[in-house]
Amino acid sequence: MAPKSTSSKATTVSPSSNPVLALWKSYNEQTPDRLRFIDAFLVFLMLTGVIQFVYCVLVTNFPFNAFLAGFSSTVGQFVLTASLRSQVDPENKNEFKEVSPERAFADFAFGSIVLHFFVFNFLG
């Protein structure tokens, strides 16, 4: 769902020859900037989550509450951001008729603030 979006290198390889490149090209061409920006944030969250999980498995899970707080903050933020993405996607307009993009962002911001409140309480 979240292909690489950080770079937009122009490729000279023929799109028809490689499905992955074709997908990448069509993503770059057809996705609005706003959604690509959200995707970039999702990738960032996923990477920080993976780093923490690997650190927990390979180095230490002590103190465990800090791991839970750090890891769940990335997971929770990822879920909230993914929800925002589906709600503001113009293609999903019919499914979220009563949710305007502004309302979706307000929900996202409120949920995130609550999430970070709990995360920092649990982190210490």
């Binding site: 706003r34 920006f37 923490q52 650190y55 750090g70 890891f71 990335t74 911001a109 970070h116």
Partner: protein, 435 residues
Amino acid sequence: MLPLLSLLISLVTLVVARSSTGTDVLVIVSAEEQKDYTLFFEDLEGRGYDLFFREPKAEKPVLLDADVPQFHHVLMLASDTKAFASDITPQNIVELLTKNVNVVVALSPKQNLFYTLAPEFGLVPPPPGTPLISYFPERTDPPTVLPVHVAPGPIVTPNTPPVWFSGIPFSVGNSPLLVPILNAPSESFASDSDSTTESIVESVEKGGEGLWAGSSLGLVTGFQVTDGGRALFLGGGAILSDAFANKALPDGSSSGNKQIAHDVSAWAFQESLVLRIDETSHHVVNATEPKEYYTTNDQVVYTTKISRWNAKENEWEPHTGVDDLQLEFTMLDPHVRTGIPEDLARPGTYSVTFRAPDRHGVFKFIVDYRRKGWTHLKSAITVPVVPPRHDGYPRFLSAAWPYYAGAVSTSVGFVLFAALYLAGETKEAGKKKKE
């Protein structure tokens, strides 16, 4: 006059109270037998004891008045007496022992109430009328009067010469409270002195079964009551008598009876091998006051001070040199069991530092020191061990920095994302308006 009086008082205090419990001794002995023990009684009086004599059948002075012991020590030398006054019963003697009164009991081949008392302490006497007999070494005395080699032990003075003995042996049970002091010679046996050969032949036919013989039989055995009282059982009162104290051994040298009478009475009357715990304290490292409760993994310091009674100086002195003292920190089971080494800077003080277990609950510091012959030491202090308070845990550990960084970066990312998102929205709105 006054200096003379004070001198008299100091002289009295010098002599009096050599025992750690008291000086009053009740001697239950018949008038005829009393004459046999003058040397022993002189020795006792010389050590500051006040002797009170009572005929076995006399009603006074009583052992217990309204359950209060009237004497510090009781000496039962009336071994040949069959009937005693109404208050001299096995039950009362046990009662005395539980009240920290020391009791010395002399048994004899004639059956009396002590024959039922001794088995209560794990000492089983042979059938009545069967004294200890030995035909070795060769001597002119009757076979029932025999010299016994004194094995070294904590109670008797080292190198005590052999002692004369006449009386009965008893089999010594396996109670850990029993303290064997003098055992029978290995070639001796208990038998009816009129028919020794017959009984030996009979028991040889049975493979030795039923023969009271050998060095595992006790002649003088102590019993350390858990509360501190001491009981001493003698196979015969004669071992304390003048006759045996003055009687020369078969090789002509003098016997050790006087010495052993002194030693065993010193032990029985709590002069020697008496210990006590003066004080115990506990606190966390780098503190002085005990804490009301300890936290798991605290470093706890436990200190105890042990004193030994010095009968010569008539005072308690620090007891040094114990290298096998143990402390247990228990909650049902000992979670920590560690030796308590001596604190060499403070004599008689034993101290140990240990980490409280990572387990909360109600714990006890237990010192339980029992060695044969010595007074038992027992101390138990109950302390709760609690988990750390909610703010008592370590914080901002270096190991957790990746997690902190992860949480902070998510928050910062959220703020930046929200700002850029809103900025993009106004841009788009502007674009739309322009269009």
